[in-house]
Assembly symmetry: C2
């Protein structure tokens, strides 16, 4: 069992030094410093400067972006919690020695040119050797860095700061992170933390899971993994973490083509995908098979309670959408509960149902449904003892009122926090605002029936997992 490092000074630093800060726009060393000073390299609506102390190390400059430059780490008199290293690979060992002498709290080595290329393997071994006797944790090398929106910490060269949220995203691939952050900004998706951990020479995914276990701002963990080096350690930690909070994982390299590509990508051997599948299952990790699913499912798990039993209801104002959603549910093994006589009686008595409403699950409340009809339907079904979760579908008709329909769901969820609700407010231009409103209030909305069914499926799996653990 490898030792567990204390990562607090990396993730909650009071002082950060950028070694290799650069004046050259577009360079990594410039990007990182800019991200600390302003939150992002790309133009952003709001500046989010890191509120702690920022130091720059560059022997050839006196000042960059308003930050005084020091010739070396050792010239800084203050204590340094986090040192971010962005110098050429061959200079990295020297800088790491300085970090050890300076007793920094932790390192992120951004620089590439280590074990991912043949010529860099020895260099990576050097770095590991220098740090070996110490308790200083190091993330990287060959990574993008760490971003913590709630702490206004962009310790990376990802050019934007995503919104604050409650999903922790941990990725072995750095390039994916950039794209995902850009997508997340457009989609109003928030993160508690984003960690690109690269070659994992010292800190690996298990260490990160261990730290995230106690991070209250992270309600679910999304993991992109190509390989795990220490399987025993990973499983032990993952098992203990998934008791506390859900973990969703995407494994890159599950086919022979993918495996070959992964090997050329990180040099890591990703063995038989069935091994990973079995291991994930044993640890209580929910496995997905695309980036979209990884993030969609993490969002549902972070924001909604688990579905206690396998039995849900679908409420829709569009027959076709109900049919397609029922298809997806059955394909995934989700059971649609039968509507009780009690429920039908309440719906009938309301006097608000359309004569052609379906009287069964999926409950089709018909295209002309106004908010009050949605309200009666959802309120009635969420109180049914055999219904443990609800998918609410809204197709966009002329009389549909997406915002009011969203407020109803938000309100009912507040009063019934133990049963998950997933929404599919279909459309684009005219349903957008309602989707944001739902998501701001913790109700995942997918605008996609398949995604909604998959998210509900994950909530059911999570419910089963917790039940088995308690049993």
């Amino acid at each position: 069992m490898k030792k567990i490092y204390n990562l607090d000074r990396i993730f909650n630093p009071r002082s950060v030094a950028v070694v290799g800060a650069s004046r050259q726009e577009g360079s990594v060393g410039y990007g990182i410093l800019k991200n600390l000073v302003a939150g992002s390299t790309f133009p952003a609506k709001h500046l989010t400067p890191f509120p702690g102390k920022i130091y720059a190390v560059n022997p050839n400059a006196s000042e960059i972006l308003g930050i005084k430059c020091y010739p070396s780490l050792k010239d800084i008199s203050d204590k340094i919690d986090l040192a971010i290293i962005a110098v050429p690979a061959k200079i990295v060992p020297t800088v790491v020695k300085d970090c050890v002498d300076k007793k920094v709290g932790g390192l992120i080595i951004i620089s590439a040119g280590f074990a991912e290329v043949k010529e860099g393997r020895a260099l990576q071994e050097d770095v590991v050797r220098i740090l070996k006797g110490t308790e200083i944790p190091m993330i990287g090398p060959n990574c993008l860095g760490v971003i913590r929106p709630s702490a206004k910490l962009n310790a990376s060269f990802a050019p934007s700061m995503p919104l604050k949220g409650n999903v922790a995203f941990v990725s072995q691939s750095g390039a994916l992170v950039d794209s995902i952050i850009d997508w997340a900004i457009e989609d109003h998706y928030g993160f508690s933390i984003v960690i690109s951990y690269g070659n994992k020479a010292i800190i690996d995914s298990a260490d990160l899971l261990d730290w995230l276990k106690n991070d209250v701002s992270s309600k679910a963990i999304a993991l992109y993994i190509e390989s795990i080096s220490n399987g025993q350690k990973f499983m032990k930690i993952a098992k203990s973490v998934s008791k506390i909070k859900p973990i969703v994982a995407l494994k890159g390299g599950v086919t022979s083509e993918g495996t070959k590509a992964a090997s050329s990508h990180t040099g890591a051997l990703s063995t038989d995908s069935r091994l990973y599948e079995a291991a994930f299952k044993q640890c209580g990790i929910i496995q997905t098979d695309s980036i979209e699913d990884l993030l969609d499912i993490a969002e549902a798990l972070a924001n909604q309670p688990p579905c206690k039993e396998n039995g849900i209801a679908i409420i829709t104002n569009g027959g076709g959408a109900g049919v397609l959603c029922a298809d997806k549910c059955e394909q995934l093994g989700i059971k649609l509960s039968e509507l009780s006589e009690r429920a039908i009686k309440i719906l009938e008595a309301s006097g608000k149902m359309h004569p052609a409403y379906s009287r069964r699950n999926p409950l089709d409340i018909v295209g002309d449904a106004l908010p009050e009809r949605y309200e009666i339907a959802i309120r009635t079904l969420i109180q049914e003892p055999d219904i443990y979760g609800i998918i609410v579908i809204q197709t966009l008709q002329t009389m549909t009122n997406p915002i009011e329909d969203a407020k109803i769901v938000i309100n009912i969820h507040k009063n019934n926090p133990d049963k998950p609700i997933i929404c599919v407010y279909m459309g684009g231009k005219y349903s957008k605002e309602s989707r944001y409103l739902l998501e701001q209030n913790g109700i995942p909305d997918y605008n996609d029936l398949t995604k909604a069914a998959r998210a509900m499926h994950a909530l059911i799996k999570r419910g089963q997992l917790l039940k088995n653990r308690l049993a």
Copy 2:
């Protein structure tokens, strides 16, 4: 074999009458008239009034939205190509008689309350009986109508007009159409025509396919179907159409839950899904299993050439994205061609490759790839005899130039129109413009690796189909 109707006067009308035009905002009869007068009911950037003649029938009004009202159809002296009916169900037979007397070119019955509800079955039979001896085609009842952006014809109560494009969307469900149009507007997705055909009392999906066969503006057909009443007719027509242009279909009600829901939705019995699967395959129809796939794949088939053989290349600037895409390709049965020595030589000789580039398929040209590196990679691989299609992935790095990278793809595709290119420019905020640019130029971009692989898979299937047909 049922007779084939001539639908030209419905889809290319010179004069349209709205029977049941209403002054009441929010009503169906108001919405349809507004859509003819202005193109959409919801506020739109540009008004697109129908350029032909518009007539309104309402015995209790003299004028609505600037259009003179007639007490009945028979009071209009002009010839009527298309009559759109939006009166209460029980009055519909009388109006249909008027249509027959008036010798209108065709009807769309929007009104609901027919075979989809028990009480309306007899009414629907009445309507069919009245039209039986005539050659007047009728779409509906219980449908949303027809929209043809290129003709500025919004003969429906769908509140918005989508962009002009080359995908024909034919849907048995009306509610789905509204949501899809709203999504399409937001996503810049265009349609040649959108047809909601409801209860298909006379005109069914086969008749529509038959008309679309010769519609030059429709390059691919996307079909949402819950049931087919005349299987023999459908298969005969679909077979002949799919020789000319690709058809993609989504069948609602493929599981027992979905089937039960479909039966309560349109009253139609959707039999065993395997029957449909086999029938679709035999007709050369590509079946998908979600709305998103239906439209994504139709877009690829409408805009890109078929992939002549099963052998493609992936070009990426992100290793992880390449790994995930290779996984998806293998799972779908897409073969990744081996890179030839010739290709590697050209790449090396360019002097533009990063030392760590992958030298294999997926071709990882590394995160710092500038447009010129993309250009060399795509140009070299598209000329390889064993590569029949390319997926170009771009993760968003600080130095990435999405717009220039898009221009390169557009340009190379122009000079190599026989090999399909599918793009995945990942991200959101900063990659959006490049994705629109690609799509405006006929290069599908999915921002999603799974979707791109599925689209390429459909292009390979289309290639195989055409080859088998020619053999």
